[in-house]
């Protein structure tokens, strides 16, 4: 007898993208949980159906669109049955077996139905003639390519996305193509009439022919192969090949026969479970909350959720997807997403330039973007889609958003079109990755998501500025919008939970240590990773300032060693100089330290402090001891923390100064130093609107005016320059301090770890920040919580380590084997 019980049996019916993506997600979580058998109708591994159009157009080969070749099944111990006779005819739920066409029975403990959809064939007279086909699989593509070699005339019935891609492919293969469409403009499911008309004209220029508002009456072919298409009006169009692309129907016959509840598709709940507790369904055959999806991004989201439940994790839920569409016809740029038609409650922003062939329409529902149609210039499609998915407040963007991301104060990469770049163009400046390397990695390694590309090429994995470019390349290489990650991304690979949920769980369930959080939320790794541990450490510290014992091992080395690690392994040391003020004695003390410890370079920082470079780790406690004796505390130049308050000279010396900006800067820094934040946090006080302290690109900036103080938030001078938003204007220094503390506390409690104030405010909108801070009781409560937290945070970490020998241990080697 074996000690181990036999593995549970998982059977998958359908060897397409949704089913296999689910298995990939499952195997990533628990590779050995099930004995897996997959039944597939086509004689291939799993391929990317979305890319059949480029195969037809001769831009890709079948090999290039394979996702899981036969080796993949073997390597993962999956039995693939896709030969003759392996079509599943019946599910016997009473005995929990599936029965194949050859009569063989395969038992299951859990069953995943991923049967996809079938092309809908119009029941026209002559529909059964030779040369009348659908456009759904590799076999259809081969039939079309064969026809193009032997015949001249093709008719495509259906002017939707799929029909036009088929028509374009056939035209590229030398056929004369006529598209017959029932309504008055093309792609009416994705385009409004203006964009539909522009698309039609552009295709006519390429040689395509159209019959709009036309209905097919019959197909005629006395020889047995189709020869003529007859329209309702009597017109006859010569046709040696007819492709029906009028839509798809979820393939639910198998499930229906087994008595599983179906409507348009197989009805599933938010866990992708059907009405049978042992049977899941994903992909085009599944109907979730009344919707059936025919695009890739939703299938992938469903696959993730389904895998979570197959892996017995039992917490992920699918809440439906927002979808976007791009037409894969080379040379035609078209993007559509969301509610692009609008209704009487929505408003449109429209840009139209017929001469250059550009049309853009944004549909706004209040302060949210509800939909978009772009024709001729789709560079900003993914940005608009992101705004829609995240439900961002766009009231601040409204006047400029039509002109794209590059016009909203973002000096990043918006507005650049990667398709015109050659392979040697550098995309990721941080890691030196060129376009060609990214394209190569995507096609040879079968990558789909931004995270995949980051892992394999390092592109956009450092500062992230080139993320938009990498997403564009992904779209061009793999087709549809795969970057459509769920709007709430998991914190990291150790969990499926997003940041906000984790933070709420910490508070709601009184979780007070990292192991407690990981246990409660079922982390998949024993002690997390370098991404989630620092985040959890911060969230706990922020939630329980009085009780939480900081976990040094969960901090980045800079925060553990209280200095900035340099590329040679030495550290830099920045003592705090409140408001940038210092005395001759301060400077002498710093100079003495620099001499004594042979500091290799001394530099004045952008934040008005002095930086000592090249300090050896083992010398750090002694350096701090000397600096501490001269009255210095840590400058936290290494931390996700309050960095500096930069000031100008102000009314004390400057003939333009309106207030004492230096003294105010000192007070602000005395209030806020030592506080840990989601990310670094910089402040500045300028004594007049000439703004010498550059307060308008700080996280919290103050510009003094004669009548008081303008308070500015959310600025950034880093990767993406962002000018601050005006929060409010106040009259007194006390109010400045209260607002600053309250703002910081709101940021500390609300932002995701490693999210600067600029992207945070862009994500949640300025309105909620204003609302909470202008409400006096709310503001005072936030400020109070900040002060409580500061009581525990304002302990100089340098002094502690300079004075307590037990804290110095980790700065020294455990053993010296170097002579001398």
């Amino acid at each position: 007898m074996l000690d181990k019980p036999a593995k549970q049996k998982l059977v998958v019916v359908g060897n397409g993208m949704a089913g296999m993506r689910t298995l990939e997600e499952l195997i990533e979580r628990l590779p050995d949980l099930y004995d897996i058998t997959v039944f597939g109708a086509e004689p291939y591994g799993n391929y990317n159906r979305i890319l059949l159009s480029p195969v037809l157009a001769g831009e890709k080969t079948v090999d290039e669109i394979m996702l899981n070749d036969l080796n993949w099944y073997r390597d993962n111990g999956i039995t693939l049955r896709h030969g003759a006779g392996s079509h599943i005819n019946e599910i016997r739920r009473d005995r929990k077996v599936v029965i194949a066409a050859d009569g063989s029975e395969t038992p299951y403990d859990r069953l995943l139905v991923a049967t996809g959809s079938n092309p809908f064939m119009l029941p026209l007279p002559g529909a059964d003639l030779d040369g009348v086909i659908a456009f759904r699989d590799i076999n259809d593509v081969n039939l079309m390519l064969d026809a193009a070699k032997a015949y001249k005339n093709a008719v495509v019935i259906g002017g939707g996305l799929l029909g036009l891609e088929a028509a374009n492919g056939l035209m590229k293969n030398g056929m004369k193509v006529t598209v017959i469409h029932l309504v008055d403009h093309l792609m009416e499911m994705q385009l409004d009439d203006v964009a539909g008309e522009m698309l039609k004209n552009s295709l006519i220029e390429r040689g395509m022919d159209f019959r709009l508002e036309a209905k097919t009456k019959e197909l005629v072919g006395p020889s047995g192969r189709v020869e003529t298409v007859v329209l309702e009006g009597g017109e006859e169009i010569p046709a040696d090949l007819v492709v029906m692309a009028v839509g798809i129907r979820p393939n639910i016959a198998l499930a229906q026969k087994a008595g599983i509840h179906c409507e348009r598709g197989i009805v599933v709940d938010d866990t992708m479970l059907t009405y049978d507790p042992n049977i899941f369904a994903v992909g085009e055959c599944a109907q979730h909350r009344g919707k059936v999806y025919g695009l890739v991004a939703p299938l992938f989201e469903q696959a993730k959720v389904c895998a979570n439940h197959l892996a017995l994790k039992a917490f992920a839920s699918y809440k439906g997807s927002k979808t976007s569409t791009k037409l894969k016809v080379t040379g035609i740029d078209l993007f559509s997403a969301g509610d692009f038609k609008g209704n009487d409650k929505t408003e449109d922003i429209i840009f139209k330039d017929p001469h250059s062939g550009v049309y853009k329409k944004l549909v706004l529902d209040g302060n949210r973007l509800a939909g978009a149609v772009l024709y001729g210039d789709t560079v900003d499609g993914s940005w608009y889609f992101q705004l829609m998915r995240e439900g961002s407040d766009i009231s601040e963007l409204r006047r400029t958003m039509m002109f794209g991301q590059s016009h909203v104060g973002d000096s990043g990469t918006g507005g650049i079109d990667v398709s015109t770049m050659d392979d040697k163009t550098e995309i990721c400046g941080c890691n030196g990755v060129c376009k060609g390397e990214i394209v190569n990695a995507i096609s040879t390694k079968g990558l789909f998501t931004l995270d995949d590309v980051r892992a394999h090429t390092k592109a956009s994995s450092s500062c992230g500025t080139c993320t938009g470019l990498v997403e564009q390349i992904l779209q061009q290489v793999v087709g549809g919008d795969y970057s459509a990650a769920p709007s709430e991304k998991p914190m990291c690979k150790c969990t499926d939970h997003p940041h906000d949920l984790v933070r709420r769980a910490i508070l709601d369930n009184q979780l007070k240590t990292i192991p407690q959080v990981m246990q409660h939320l079922e982390w998949s790794t024993p002690n997390g990773c370098a991404s989630c541990r620092p985040a959890l450490n911060y969230y706990l510290l922020c939630a329980w300032p009085a009780e939480y014992v900081d976990d040094g091992q969960s901090r980045f080395i800079n925060e553990r060693a209280h200095g900035n690690i340099q590329k040679d392994g030495t550290y830099s040391v920045v003592p705090r100089m409140f408001g940038g003020l210092c005395t001759p004695n301060d400077l002498r003390a710093i100079a003495d330290v620099a001499d004594k410890f042979e500091v290799r370079e001394v530099k004045v920082t952008g934040g008005q402090r002095i930086d000592l470079f090249g300090v050896k780790k083992k010398d750090l406690p002694a350096v701090w001891d000397d600096l501490g004796a001269a009255g210095f505390v840590s400058g936290h130049a290494y931390g996700k923390a309050l960095r500096t308050v930069k000031t100008c000279v102000g009314s004390q010396w400057c003939r333009f100064g309106t207030q004492n900006s230096t003294a105010l800067g000192v007070k602000l820094e005395e209030l806020t130093w030592g506080s840990w934040m989601p990310h670094k946090f910089k402040m500045a006080v300028s004594g007049c609107p000439r703004n010498c302290a550059e307060a308008t690109i700080k996280d919290f900036g103050i510009v003094c005016v004669d009548s008081g103080y303008e308070l500015l938030v959310g600025g950034n001078g880093g990767i993406k320059v962002r000018v601050t938003d005006l929060l409010t204007k106040v009259a007194t220094e006390e109010e400045v301090l209260e607002y600053s503390g309250a703002f910081i506390q709101m940021y500390r409690e609300d932002a995701h770890y490693l999210e600067r104030t600029a992207p945070w405010i862009e994500r949640i909108g300025l309105a909620p920040v204003k609302e909470r801070l202008e409400d006096e009781s709310e503001r005072k409560a936030l400020f109070e919580r900040f002060k409580v937290s500061q009581k525990y945070a304002q302990v100089d970490p340098w002094k502690e380590r300079a004075q307590k020998s037990e804290l110095q241990r980790d700065f020294a080697p455990i053993k010296e084997l170097v002579n001398s």
Binding site: H456, Q553, G569, I814, K815, V818
Partner: protein, 121 residues
């Protein structure tokens, strides 16, 4: 395991060098053995397993001892490569290997050999 009684006061015999008590390294932490041929990072996993690898990431030479330790892995502080402490291999998709050294614990004391471990290649 049987050689413990032979370790002399100089801490060196049969190629095993006494490094120090396990408790001198924080759980999920690391400290360095300094030597002229390049430092060796000694790691302590959560379950007190001890690992010794060259303190040099195969990517750009980052000091692995300063990384965050999770499971039996460490993430390099410079560019986030993740290294398996047992084998010294970089986690896919990154490709690279750092030297590992034989290490063992007797009565709470760590001993190290300075000849890199032989691993199948």
């Amino acid at each position: 395991m049987m050689h413990i009684e032979k370790v002399d006061s100089g801490g060196k015999l049969d190629g095993w060098i006494e490094i120090g008590p396990v408790t001198d390294i924080a759980p999920l932490g690391s400290r360095v053995v300094r030597r002229t041929e390049g430092n060796i990072a000694i790691f302590r996993a959560e379950d007190d397993r001890i690992f010794a690898v060259a303190n040099k990431c195969p990517h750009k030479g980052g000091p692995l001892s300063e990384g965050i330790v999770h499971g039996c892995r460490v993430t390099c502080p410079l560019h986030n490569w993740v290294m398996e402490l047992e084998t010294g291999e970089a986690l896919a998709p990154d490709v690279g290997k750092t030297e590992t050294f034989p290490v063992r614990v007797e009565k709470g004391i760590i001993y190290l050999q300075l000849e890199p471990a032989l691993t199948e290649g």
